[in-house]
Every structure is written in structure tokens, then in C-alpha cells.
Subunit: 287 residues, 2 copies
Amino acid sequence: MQTRTARLMDGTALARRVVEETSVRAAEITRRTGVTPCLATVLVGEDPASVTYVRMKRARCAKAGIDSRLVSLPAATTTAELVGTLRTLSQDPAVHGILLQHPVGPHIDERAAFEAIAPEKDVDGVTMSSFASMSFGRPGFASCTPGGIMRLLDAYDVELTGRRAVVVGRSAILGKPVGMLLLARDATVTYCHSRTADLAAAVREADVVVAAVGRPRLIRGEDIRPGAVVIDAGYNAGNVGDVDFDTARTRAGLITPVPGGVGPMTIAVLLEQTVDAASAQLGLATR
Amino acid sequence: MQTRTARLMDGTALARRVVEETSVRAAEITRRTGVTPCLATVLVGEDPASVTYVRMKRARCAKAGIDSRLVSLPAATTTAELVGTLRTLSQDPAVHGILLQHPVGPHIDERAAFEAIAPEKDVDGVTMSSFASMSFGRPGFASCTPGGIMRLLDAYDVELTGRRAVVVGRSAILGKPVGMLLLARDATVTYCHSRTADLAAAVREADVVVAAVGRPRLIRGEDIRPGAVVIDAGYNAGNVGDVDFDTARTRAGLITPVPGGVGPMTIAVLLEQTVDAASAQLGLATR
């Protein structure tokens, strides 16, 4: 039996290019208007992983010439207080994009909080309005990870029209929107999830697999169709993805490594959409 | 070979029950508040099929004790004028539900028109807000045909959890939302459409097929898995559905006839949601 080795989809390199281009655009906005694009990041509590993510995002903003404003709220913040904070930021003309760091704690109605973000500042693509825009092919911001996945697919010239795409996971900001974006590109899209009776059978049919469920090595390498494109958006302890990478790479045509695949694209799209938002709000031509 | 004959899913009978219950609720609202639930129907132009649909819907309203207001606009109405009309109706406290009869003519931005309908009056479930609500399992109105299909499935005790559902068609008010409603009920959902490479293969895997594409007999009976549930939301000339009924019924477990399956449910859900809207707007307890 012939053993193939899949080509790796280099999210780190693609993200670097996206961020470089974004930095140039940010500098140009600052030069032309005197206003620097600004992302407000709202953090509730002190979950160590969330603190780390927020620090990393702010560092990336700084490097790209984007201002960031950190709003740190105590863990005991109520839904009403959080909604109030997000509404104020939505109305603040100095803030162009808003990111609410997930998770916010079980006592908070996260959906109510997300919906307090004005759609034109929803650069993380978490509002129902953004979801509907992605679903209907209307102008609006993509959820960052789905947006990053589509950029990766395009960068590697993956044909989507008529191909079978299987999305494993149905979260509001990852599985559901990436399926809708794939459908908008004329893929035949199947949503699988925890209640799917025969996940392996569905994966075996897929020309494109998007794993977005957060369960280490849930998807077995031997179920990957030879030559398929494997996008692993899982991020589990120990840098393990949702796909059994070692086996999958012997069958796939293209595969994202974990780390270095989808992850870097998420933040690149966040920065890019922050600059898009600033550009639109400052009355400059959009891309 | 054994020939089975599928049980028919009687949409006419189920719709009658739904409308009867709705009539009782409408009368109770009128008795308690002095206000009769009111559906405003907006018709642009004089397309004969649209005129017939609107007349039929108004007759059903009258029979159910729901007032209807017809707003007939000339074919040359602009998007801005139509948006203005729909915004005015959205603010009119005497109107509880709004239906914009489709299609509105190619010179009108139909999406812009739909979005002028206030979500709380969107009893036809056409706004992006309603779509996102269906997708995320939030309170809101269903698109009427998808809502009617879910009622039919429930009335016949069709198990959805873990079953493979194949939706053929991806329109904004039928295919996309019915897929999201099936996903919310834990089905494994595949969206097929005009660009799907091998429709027959996808249909052959389906425990539940929803045909929602408007192409006569596109789905061949021999591709129906034995015992599958077949929902035909197609409505083509000559009362022909999207499924080849005669062959499909020899294989399916349950099947909707055309006419008398999905069609009657659409209008029943429209009436029911109009009463739901009136109830909420008049401050009465919702179901």
C-alpha cells in the first residue's frame, strides 16, 4: 500500500501575510484620519486561559498598529452590568471593534451579552445578526475562526463547489457559521455533532472535513477519505487537535497542523476585521 | 420483492386541528381585550398566483376569526416605498403580524424589504433575526413552511435525534431554516442543492428527506431508503411535488402527499403565529 503524506496548510505563514497587510492598512487609516483603529476587549473574571488569550490578542494588536482597550470586569459581574458595558462600548466612537472574551461564567446569559454588541463593531462575529449575514451572503463580519478557515481553504485553492464538506460540531460561533460559509460556496454540507449516530460513516464521505468540536482525536485518521482536505479547529490540552493527525496525514491531501493551522488565522481575521470596522466607521473606502 | 406502501402524512387534517385551536385562541383574545388579532398582507403588483395566494390567506384568516388588512401596491413600487410601507405597519399597534407576499419583482431588494418587518411581527419568519433565532433555538417566529414541517414530523412521532436528514434546497425561507430546525432537534443534517455533485447518493443515506427545491420529480423514488420519511415541500405546476411520489411511496415509511401534505401546514402556522404575535403584543400569556 502506498503511503502518502498530506501537504500541510501553513496557517502561521498565511496569518503573517494577513497581519502584515492589516498593519499597512491600519497605519494608512491613522495617517489619513489621525485616528488609530481600536479594539475593546472585555474580560469577565480571571480565568487563566482567558487572561492569556486576551494578553496575546492585545500584543498582536499593538504589533499591528491597532490600539486596544482592556475592560476587565470582576467574576461576579451580572448579565445586566455586562450588557451595559457592551452597549456603552457600542456607542463609543473611539472604539471600532468589540471582543467579549469567551467564556463569561455560567451565571451570565452569554447570548444576551453578545447581542449588546452593535453589529458594525462585531469584529469577532458573534451576534445573531453576523450569523444571519454569513448565512445569507450579506455584508457583515464573519466569526473569526470560520472566516480564517475559509481564507485557508482559498489560499490553498481548495475547490468547494459540489464537494462534500462535513462539519463536526455545531457551536454558534464555529460549527454553525463555518457550515453556512461552506454552503454559500456551493459545497454540499453535512453537520455532525455529539448525537450523530455514525460519525465515521459521515467523515468517510467527506472531501473536506472541518473538525470543530474540542474533543481530542475524536476523528480517526483511517476514516479520512484519501486526498481529502482536513481542517482541524480543535484546541485541546497538550496541543492535540480533534483529528488524529499522525494517521490522518497519511491519507489526506491537505491538512492543518495543530498548532500552526487554524489558530493563527483566527486572530489574523480578528485584526483584519477590526481595521475593516474602523475603515467603515471613519468613512473610508472599504476593501 | 415485497412492495410496501408508505403511510401518508395528512397535512390537511393536522392543519385543520391547528387552525381550530388557533380560532379558539383568537376568539379568546378578542373577548378578553376587545382587539381582534390582525395580519397585514402586502402585495406588490398583480401576479395572478400571488393574488390567489393572498386571497386564500385572507379567507383563512376570516374563517379563523383573524382580521386581515390588504395593502396592495402597484408593480412599479420602489424598494424605498415598500420599506416605508413595511416600517409603518411595523409601528402600527393595530397590526400584529405582517406578511410580504413573495415574489416582489426583480427591481425590488427583497431582503431590504423583509428586514423592514419588525421581528415581533414577522409571523412569516422571513427576517434575518427570525432565521438566527431558529438557528440558535431562541424565542422567535419560524418560517411558516419549516415550522409546518416540524409540526408534521412531531405529529407522526418521527424520531430525529441522531437520524440523517437530507434537505434538498437552500432558500432563505425554506431550505436553510428547516435544516437549522432539524439540527436543533439533533438530526445529522445535510444540505444539498443545485451544485451538489451526487444528489442520489446523498438521498440514499437519508432517514428523513425534505425536498424544498421546486423542481418537479427531481428526487427519484428508487433513491429513497426503505422506511425513510419523505417530506415534499415542492409545489410545481400540475400539483406535482419535488419527489416522484408514485415510486417513493413504495419505499418510504411515511410520505407527504402533494397536495395535502406540507402546503396546508404553511398557512396553519401563519395563522397560529399571527395569534401568538397578537397575544404577546397585547400582553397576554404566550403559549
